[in-house]
């Protein structure tokens, strides 16, 4: 993160290395951490002894704040959002917060309406409808 520009996720000013980093939605992290926890369960009696506080708190958090619980639904969300020319960061914020209206989506991720971006309201509306469809079959 360069010192000159102040960090601001709303404008996607989060440092070049993070713009290119892979971000994960809560539901994706939940699947990964749960799987890890199960692996540890197979290796010892009390897996909680094997995991750090950071791991445990994060697991609790993502389990609670995952909109999609099964692996197929999670994959679908990523797939659908990936069609809309979003950065990794924007994709994950939308996947996590699941805004219901175009207005809410823009409030959550203002950068999608920044100058030069291709997302008019119709496109955003379609995107929200596409994700909403997945929830019904979760």
């Amino acid at each position: 993160m360069s010192g000159e520009e102040e960090e601001n996720a709303a404008e996607l000013k989060i440092g070049d290395e993070f713009l290119k980093a892979k971000c994960l939605m809560n539901c994706e992290v939940s699947l990964i951490l749960e799987h890890k926890f199960e692996q540890l369960q197979q290796m010892s009696d009390d897996p909680r002894n094997q995991v750090s506080q950071v791991f445990e708190k994060s697991l609790q958090y993502v389990k609670r704040f995952s909109r999609y619980k099964n692996a197929d639904a999670v994959k679908q969300v990523r797939e659908i959002l990936s069609r809309y020319q979003l950065t990794e960061f924007e994709l994950c914020v939308l996947g996590n917060l699941c805004p219901e209206t175009v207005e809410e989506a823009i409030a959550m991720v203002p950068s999608i309406k920044a100058k030069g971006r291709v997302h008019d309201d119709e496109v955003i509306d379609k995107m929200l409808n596409d994700i909403a469809m997945i929830k019904k079959f979760d």
Partner: protein
């Protein structure tokens, strides 16, 4: 935000453990890496280190002159958690004070929401203190809040982050824990 990044760390294997060859050595290196990873806990750049997902490559070992230990460069992928200024996410109220509330978000326990950043909410003292607004929206221990990150500070000595957040924009504030309800499902 949860991040997945590729890292390269050096793992030091003491001279005594070097009798092991092949898979045993590889296992020793990975076990050491896991220990180092767990001990590191968090870094300023990546945030909190949650889990190591895959080991991509173990490079050639280099002997350290004076100790006889061998240093192996290991490339691996890991998941971390970091808060970005301007990011919007959810947290759970853990403590209610006159000056504001303390939230938990992911692995971070010290997320501060000042009363000055809770527009229209007023402190109501009592055994179970709460914040209340004119529309009877309540903020108390256990409430889930959607907030915006104002800033995150890395504390080098404690190896942890502190964050300042606010509710001073649209669509922020208490949200239901249930997946289908929205903030605006009010009578």
């Amino acid at each position: 935000m949860f991040l997945k990044t590729e890292l390269q760390w050096n793992v030091v294997i003491p001279a005594e453990s070097l009798d092991a060859k092949g898979l045993m050595l590889q296992k020793a290196i990975i076990v050491r890496l896991l220990d180092d990873f767990a001990e590191r806990k968090a870094t300023k750049d990546l945030g909190y280190l949650l889990a190591l997902t895959t080991v991509e490559k173990i490079g050639e070992g280099k002997v350290r002159q004076h100790t006889g230990d061998v240093l192996f460069p290991v490339t691996f992928s890991a998941i971390s958690f970091k808060l970005f200024r301007g990011e919007i996410l959810k947290g759970v109220v853990h403590k209610v004070l006159k000056q504001g509330v303390i939230l938990r978000c992911g692995p971070i326990e010290n997320v501060y929401l000042s009363s000055s950043k809770m527009p229209d909410y007023n402190y109501v003292p009592g055994e179970n203190p709460i914040f209340l607004n004119a529309k009877s929206s309540k903020i108390e221990k256990g409430t889930t809040l959607r907030f915006i990150v104002i800033g995150a500070k890395w504390l080098e000595a404690e190896r942890e982050f502190q964050a300042l957040v606010g509710l001073h924009a649209d669509y922020l504030g208490p949200v239901s824990g249930a997946p289908s309800a929205s903030m605006y499902d009010l009578p």
